[in-house]
């Protein structure tokens, strides 16, 4: 195929992806801000003009990520990348995915922060200017993932690929886009949750602005770890991605991108929910700032286990040895391994976040029982990681399996389907287990004297909620070994 034609197709596809996906988040976020502004105006009609002004400021910030996406889309549409080699087409698609998906979380997050800030002003009109500052700080931090995406999109667009073969490097470039695009969603969204609750907390306790903002910033910084992992893998895919190799290499690097990108979504969101609950708890119980910070950090660290699993698989896929001849089932197994752990990490990452959020609430109610609350949180989170452990197991089995015989299309698709089944199948049970463990923490806060009863109920309920993940595991095994 003609190089100019290929590259131009890629550019157009990338522009569409960037703007189409990039508009979703900001639009949702701005809608949220507008909705909250209307609620505030209905509460205090006399203040409608400052509310409208605040709303416009907040919406303008929330729009930033969509403006990044527009910029990338326009650059892709009108610049001529055909002189940069055949890989530029894939790079354009990668840039579109990175920026389009990357704008999603930050847009929603910034909009949510803005909405909460306006609601806060309606509660504490005298603190309007301080509230706007708090809001802008929170929004600025939750835009960081979108900025990472912009950086990756630019790196992809402006690099010179002349003299590089189309494959396998194109796979690396698309993988880099997927990694950064998906990787930014969770952290952006989560950062916004933290920012919103900081505004809410400030409205509740104006004296506590300093500690609340500190807690918010720490929480947001930790929530950004998944996006930073994704940024790292994305850059690695671009820099160490091999320019020589067969289908196996292409699929391995594509799988590495899917793994960390999807895997970062759940942990980023979960960490954000945790930080949100921590800020709320602090505004309710100001004397507890130290133990709330500890709870938040421990909860977030455990909530990052799934993304660390995804990172490990990503690295294994990138540094694997692919000297053998290309074989379709093995190639599918590599991408399937990435999809499996990436999707599988979403549920447990988010679920663990919900658990530690409820634990922070419980801590605010029963500060004297903090070790017991911590035990509930840790046990609940550990059991809630069963789905992602299943996904990791399937992922390892897919990578290390033996694919010498039967290179047929059905065999290859069975391998791909195994990863998809286990990956998607782990999402629901992971989230559900988190909700159950959260409920147990809440129950403990009501009547701490029956703790063994709650623990038992929680374990049984979690085990039952895992059964669908187990059916997915069985189907994955059947697809891998029986078919």
């Amino acid at each position: 195929m003609d190089v100019i034609f290929t590259v131009k197709t890629g550019q157009l596809l990338g522009a569409g992806l960037a703007m189409g996906l990039g508009a979703i988040g900001a639009a949702l976020g701005e809608g949220m801000t507008g909705g909250y502004a209307n609620v505030s105006i209905s509460r205090r009609t006399e203040m409608s003009s400052p509310f409208t002004r605040n709303m416009l400021v907040a919406q303008a910030v929330a729009e930033t990520s969509a403006i990044f996406a527009l910029m990338v889309a326009v650059l892709l549409l009108f610049s001529d990348m055909s002189g940069r080699g055949v890989c530029a087409g894939a790079a354009a698609i990668g840039a579109g995915i990175a920026m389009g998906l990357g704008a999603f979380g930050s847009g929603i997050g910034a909009g949510y922060s803005g909405g909460e800030a306006i609601l806060g002003v309606s509660r504490q009109p005298e603190s309007a200017s301080q509230m706007t500052t708090t809001m802008l700080v929170g929004q600025a931090v939750c835009q960081t993932p979108a900025i990472f995406s912009l950086v990756i999109a630019f790196m992809l667009m402006f690099k010179d690929y002349s003299g590089v073969n189309a494959w396998p490097y194109s796979g690396c470039l698309i993988g880099a886009g997927i990694a950064m695009g998906f990787g930014a969603i969770g952290s952006g969204w989560g950062g916004g949750q933290a920012g919103g609750s900081a505004c809410r907390g400030y409205a509740r306790q104006p004296k506590l602005r300093g500690p609340i903002v500190t807690l918010m910033l720490v929480g947001q910084a930790v929530s950004q770890t998944p996006a930073i992992f994704a940024l790292l893998v994305s850059i690695m895919l671009m820099t160490i991605g091999p320019t020589e190799g067969n289908l196996l290499v292409t699929m391995a690097f594509l799988g590495a991108g899917c793994s960390i990108g999807l895997g970062a979504v759940g942990s980023g969101m979960g960490n954000g929910v945790t930080a949100e609950a921590a800020c709320d708890a602090l505004s309710k119980e100001s004397s507890l700032s130290k133990s709330i910070m500890t709870f938040m950090l421990v909860g977030q660290a455990i909530g990052q286990t799934p993304v660390i699993f995804a990172m490990v698989v990503s690295l294994l896929l990138m540094f694997g040895n692919y000297d053998q001849a290309a074989n379709l089932p093995y190639a599918m197994a590599l991408v399937s391994a990435g999809l499996c752990i990436g999707l599988g990490a979403i549920g447990s990452g988010y679920g663990n976040g919900i658990t530690s959020a409820e634990a922070c609430d419980a801590l605010a109610v029963r500060p004297e029982k903090s070790p017991a609350v911590m035990t509930f949180m840790l046990v609940g989170q550990a059991v809630g990681q069963t789905p992602v452990i299943f996904a990791l197991m399937v992922s390892f089995m897919l990578m290390l399996g033996n694919y010498d015989q039967a290179a047929t299309l059905p065999a290859a698709m069975a391998i791909l389907a195994a990863g998809i089944a286990m990956g998607f199948g782990a999402i629901g049970p992971g989230i559900g287990n988190g909700i159950t463990a959260g409920g147990a923490c809440t129950a403990f806060a009501m009547h701490p004297e029956h703790s063994s009863l709650y623990m038992r109920t929680m374990l049984i309920a979690q085990a039952v909620a895992q059964s669908t993940a187990i059916y997915a595991l069985v189907i994955a095994f059947v697809l891998m070994f029986v078919v």
Binding site: V312, L316, V379, A382, V383, T386, I389, F390, L392, M393, F396, M397, L400, N402, R456, L459, I460, Q462, A463, V464, Q466, S467, I470, Y471, L473, V474
Partner: protein
Amino acid sequence: MEDIGVMPHWVFDCMGVHVVLNKETLIMTWIVMAMWILFALLASRNTRLLPNPFQGTAELLVGTWDQLIEDSLGEREMGRKYFSFICTIFLMFWISNMLGLIPFLSEPTKDINTTLSLGVIGFVVAHYSGIKAKGIGTYLKGYAEPIFFMAPLNIIGEFSKVISISFRLFGNIMGGSIIILVVSYLVYSLVLPPFLYAFFGIFVGTIQAFVFTMLTLVYIVVQIK
């Protein structure tokens, strides 16, 4: 690392039947049994009011499970009937799940046959108790809920309980051992493996043994009530 999931076998023909036995699983199960028999001997030899450590541990285990089973079934008499079965499942799986901590030994629960057979035993016990407690008519009527043509799906639902209970334990232990193997290989067995063994062996192992046992008990309770 190519030997992941490979089981050493004993293969022989017995009276015209081709028999394949999972060597490692069998030996490890015997080791678990031997450990508990030894423990029981030490605990029950010259029992007295001020117990020795073994007797104390045994009393603690038995007392805890007696209470748990009584709480779930609602009456002491009923609880005593199922006590030995339920408690045995827990003790067996508890030590089985932790066996990987000892060098050269591996968890028998890593083999799906172990967990599946205990799952099937629990299934049979639960349904037998259900038929005995409610009578065969009421028992069969339970499958026609909410409407009669849901019966096939209700039956599949019952069988899928066996699958979920046995694969849960198997998946956790197998997943843990594969993860330990791969991570040990990646970090050249430095620093991380002991913590992973502690997490998967002691923590996950205990919780999953408890969950398996409690679910078997719960399935019995659901059938009886």
